[in-house]
């Protein structure tokens, strides 16, 4: 076993995650495939959304998988980066919008 928690080979293990709880695992894969394949939104749109969620959630496996998927779908570098900026701006924004709660408490408590 390596000294790294995150090994590149882990991603190849993704198809095996049904192990130890196969019924749930298989249902998960059915759901995952259905949710991420083209529907009203295209594969391209869903891959950009998935890439953004992957970065927001700091999942190196998913970033790897969806960067490759975006490349495979011919998505531009600029499009991928713009999607990640939406994620980054939202994370900054959802943090800052919670400053409202701090400010409400400050304003109530202080003399």
């Amino acid at each position: 076993m390596s000294q790294q928690y995150y090994e590149k080979d882990d991603l190849q293990d993704f198809p095996n995650i049904a192990e130890y709880a196969s019924e749930q695992g298989e249902k998960f894969f059915e759901y995952y495939d259905r949710a991420t394949s083209a529907g009203k939104l295209t594969e391209r749109e869903k891959s950009l959304i998935a890439l953004t969620v992957a970065t927001v959630r700091h999942c190196p496996y998913c970033i790897d998988a969806y960067t490759n998927k975006c490349l495979s779908l011919g998505v531009g570098h600029d499009e991928m980066m713009e999607a990640i900026h939406v994620g980054a701006a939202m994370v900054a924004g959802d943090t800052l919008v919670h400053a409202t709660q701090m400010r409400k408490i400050v304003k109530k408590k202080e003399m």
Partner: protein, 333 residues
């Protein structure tokens, strides 16, 4: 990279889990041809471009071309009823000095006739005339356009090439190509610009169509998605960039048993520049001769023997069975 190096590299990558072993575990073993419907001719490896993914390592320096005698043999073979399609590739087929004559002869046979062009050459003298020759003979034109974005295609094929392909498409569009009503077919070929697999053909086709229509006002009929095969210059790129082990693993992990049934080698015969026969263009590049006991040259063509030959496979064959599969006609499914 010379031939010996390519074979060594592929062997080193695939000592334990060979393609043959996978076949043995599937219903398709032994892998045999089931017919010959497509006769694919590599008429010359000469090319005005020098693309980074070219598996035949086409370039202006390449020499040799299919002789008139061998071309005539091909025409005789193409005329037999079992053959439906004559697929002309290179190099840049336009750089073969007798292509015009050959196309006109081939058009007379009444089979599906297609030429794989790099597009850019159609703006250069003396090759410009092929724009009209193609339209006159009604040949299906297949242009390689690795990516719908300029920067990515130019990265693979050379600066300014994307623009030239677009201009060539406009010229072909003017001649009725890419319009579903004229019957003049212009298809595009997508290859991943890097060490990854192509996405779904449907999604990529719609991506190409909307970008090319919106940004440049050009039209095409269908997009063929090809998986890059780890031979020739592409193998070289994989090695130099440190992507080779990952890419081979990716191909193996993506092995799709269903794609085996539809492998294009099962219905295709590939003719080399010297008239020798191969199971496919990739085996031709790797100089993997047909299996023992089958005629080795177009002049010795024998449908009975060739249409049931056992296919010669090596680890590069994983490229054609990855994901939804890949062939010169695009994804298999």
């Amino acid at each position: 990279m010379d031939l010996r190096q390519q074979h060594e590299l592929l062997y080193r990558m695939d000592k334990t889990d060979s393609f043959m072993d996978r076949l043995k575990g599937s219903a398709a073993y032994p892998l045999r041809a089931q017919s010959i419907e497509i006769l694919q001719l590599n008429v010359t490896r000469r090319c005005n471009l020098c693309c980074r993914h070219c598996h035949v390592e086409g370039s202006p320096e390449q020499t040799g071309e299919l002789s008139r005698e061998n071309m005539e043999a091909c025409l005789r073979v193409a005329a037999i009823p079992e053959i439906t399609t004559l697929d002309i590739t290179g190099g840049a087929p336009e750089m073969h000095p007798r292509l015009e004559w050959f196309l006109k002869e081939a058009a007379g046979i009444g089979k599906r006739l297609l030429v794989r062009s790099n597009g850019a050459i159609l703006l250069e003298d003396p090759y410009r005339r092929y724009l009209d020759i193609y339209a006159e003979t009604g040949v299906e034109v297949v242009l390689s356009l690795p990516h719908p974005l300029r920067e990515r295609t130019d990265r693979m094929r050379g600066t300014g090439i994307f623009e030239r392909i677009i201009t060539a498409m406009k010229e072909l569009n003017k001649r009725g190509y890419g319009n579903s009503e004229t019957g003049r077919i212009l298809n595009l070929v997508h290859n991943p610009v890097g060490a990854f697999l192509p996405g779904s053909q449907q999604a990529l086709e719609s991506e190409y169509r909307s970008r090319l229509r919106q940004d440049y006002g050009v039209e095409f009929n269908s997009l063929y998605c090809l998986t890059n095969c780890p031979v020739g210059r592409y193998l070289d790129f994989l090695k130099r960039s440190g992507n080779l082990p990952d890419y081979i693993n990716l191909l193996k992990q993506s092995f799709n048993p269903e794609a085996v049934q539809n492998l294009m080698c099962r219905t295709t015969l590939s003719v080399g520049v010297d008239g020798r026969l191969f199971d496919c263009d990739f085996n031709q590049v790797l100089d993997l001769s047909l299996s023992d006991g089958t005629p080795a040259h177009i002049r010795d063509f024998n449908y009975e023997k060739l249409s049931r030959r056992e296919i010669v496979v090596r680890s590069h064959c994983f490229a054609c069975t990855a994901g939804s599969g890949s062939s010169c006609q695009g994804a298999l499914e």
